[in-house]
């Protein structure tokens, strides 16, 4: 037993950290995960939430979302859009306030990502969820 003890303890450790293999390949948690990021084909048509300043039609910098990570910004926007209602409006007004009350709209846009990369027009359609600031509530 003494001889096998370190091997058994090691096997137990490896089993724990490899546990996600027994879960769905999409499993992600902390500190264990299957690390599914970039594993699945996202496709060339991409649906992305975005915040747009109505005065110039340009996307708003993610710094107003308290992050420098675009992945975090997109996820946070998507979650807020899913919740919708007063939470989404409050979120929109919060961004507009940071932009000195400028008009802001939160939308989900579908783009052809490859076309965008090649410098061609990529926007397929846009669904506006809320508008606030100068031109909204």
């Amino acid at each position: 037993m003494r001889r096998w003890a370190p091997h058994l303890a090691t096997a137990a450790f490896v089993l724990v950290v490899m546990w996600p293999l027994l879960e769905s390949p999409n499993f992600q948690s902390v500190p264990l995960s299957h690390y599914p990021m970039y594993a699945r084909d996202a496709g060339r048509v991409v649906s992305l939430p975005t915040v747009i300043q109505t005065s110039d039609g340009e996307p708003v910098s993610m710094s107003v979302l308290d992050t420098d990570d675009p992945l975090v910004a997109v996820t946070r926007l998507r979650r807020t859009i899913e919740v919708g209602g007063a939470t989404l409006l409050e979120f929109c007004v919060g961004i507009a306030d940071r932009l000195d009350g400028a008009g802001v709209l939160i939308a989900t846009e579908r783009h052809d990502a490859i076309a965008h990369l090649e410098g061609r027009v990529s926007l397929i359609d846009r669904r506006v969820h809320v508008q606030c600031g100068d031109s909204g509530p």
Binding site: A39, D41, T75, I114
Partner: protein, 329 residues
């Protein structure tokens, strides 16, 4: 009669290592955690200000139905910085080691509980958890680690303890310096296995979710294009290098195959020597590529901390001083 393979596995797994190696690993990993959290303090500070409806708890926080008060989230990164600095010194390791690892686990789980799991922090947390249980503290009774409590002075050497393992002159491994204090090497092996496991899991996820399509390069091309688009729609420009790469399907296929090969082949890191160094280069190259082409950084991996357990770090230039004996805490 012992099977040679098992004998080799025995030697690899439980052979003592110089105490300095654990000390250097403790200083580097705890130091990384302190700097990493301090540099992102404003971001961590505001996490709890997000709408409660966007709270999506994972891991040990899954039991929560709603987020705790924002001040709890503000206190957490401060605790991690304090505990990391305390862990870095190695004093009162049986308290500060676990305190450091557990606060780090909580902070990482907290950050990932708002809809986006931050994967590059996982390995740092796993390494901290292993180190916290190991005899990585300052020399003396308080440096023995929580599991070393069972080792008594003069007792028979145990494979998991830092006590009673004698000196290098008695137990030769990795050509140590004579009379160098030795501790259980098992903990460093666990850290190495944690690194390997994360890469193997990531590689298997690509096989399970992307299948053979991943090797064709198209999936990588889509991720590159998607990333540039995401950056542009967030008011930040994507990498110009991504434009160049995305237009070369042949090169993308080669890179995709290399990525999967590097991840699934990561157990080769355990062989040591040239094979290990080549594989570290491959995996590091993958992270450099991700940073250059997608502007997504994995700091713990990119700065090579993830690969420290595969090397005799106490012998690296400038690091030997870190492992020098410290006053007992």
């Amino acid at each position: 009669m012992k099977v040679p393979l098992l004998a080799r596995a025995d030697r690899w797994l439980v052979a003592p290592i110089p105490r300095e190696r654990l000390t250097v690993l403790r200083v580097l990993v705890a130091g990384f955690a302190a700097v990493y959290v301090a540099a992102r303090l404003p971001m961590f500070w505001h996490i709890g200000d997000r709408p409660a409806s966007t709270f999506s708890p994972v891991g040990v926080l899954s039991v929560l139905e709603r987020p705790p008060a924002p001040w709890v989230g503000r206190l957490l990164p401060v605790c991690v910085i304090v505990c990391s600095v305390a862990a870095l010194t190695g004093r009162r390791w049986r308290f500060w080691g676990p305190a450091w690892a557990l606060t780090l686990l909580l902070l990482s789980t907290w950050r990932s509980s708002w809809g986006q799991v931050i994967h590059h922090e996982h390995l740092l947390v796993l390494h901290a958890l292993v180190l916290a249980a190991s005899p990585a503290g300052s020399s003396g009774p308080a440096g023995g680690g929580i599991l070393a409590l069972r080792a008594r002075a003069g007792s028979e050497p145990r494979w998991w303890t830092g006590a009673a393992l004698g000196h290098a002159g008695q137990r030769s491994v990795d050509q140590p310096i004579p009379d160098e204090p030795m501790v259980a090497g098992w903990w460093v092996r666990l850290m190495a296995l944690a690194t390997v496991a994360t890469y193997v899991l990531a590689g298997l996820a690509k096989v399970r979710l992307g299948g053979s399509d991943w090797l064709g390069g198209e999936i990588l091309q889509h991720h590159l294009a998607r990333n540039v688009l995401r950056l542009d729609l967030s008011g930040k420009s994507g990498s110009p290098l991504a434009d160049e790469l995305a237009g070369r399907p042949g090169l993308l296929a080669v890179i995709s195959a290399l990525v999967v090969m590097a991840e699934l082949g990561s157990p080769l890191l355990l062989l040591g020597g040239t094979v290990r160094s080549v594989w570290v280069g491959l995996l590091w190259g993958m992270h450099v590529g991700t940073a250059l082409f997608m502007w997504i950084t994995f700091p713990y991996q990119l700065l090579l901390f993830a690969f420290l357990p595969f090397f005799a770090v106490e012998r690296l230039p400038g690091l030997r001083r870190l492992g020098a004996p410290q006053p007992v805490g």
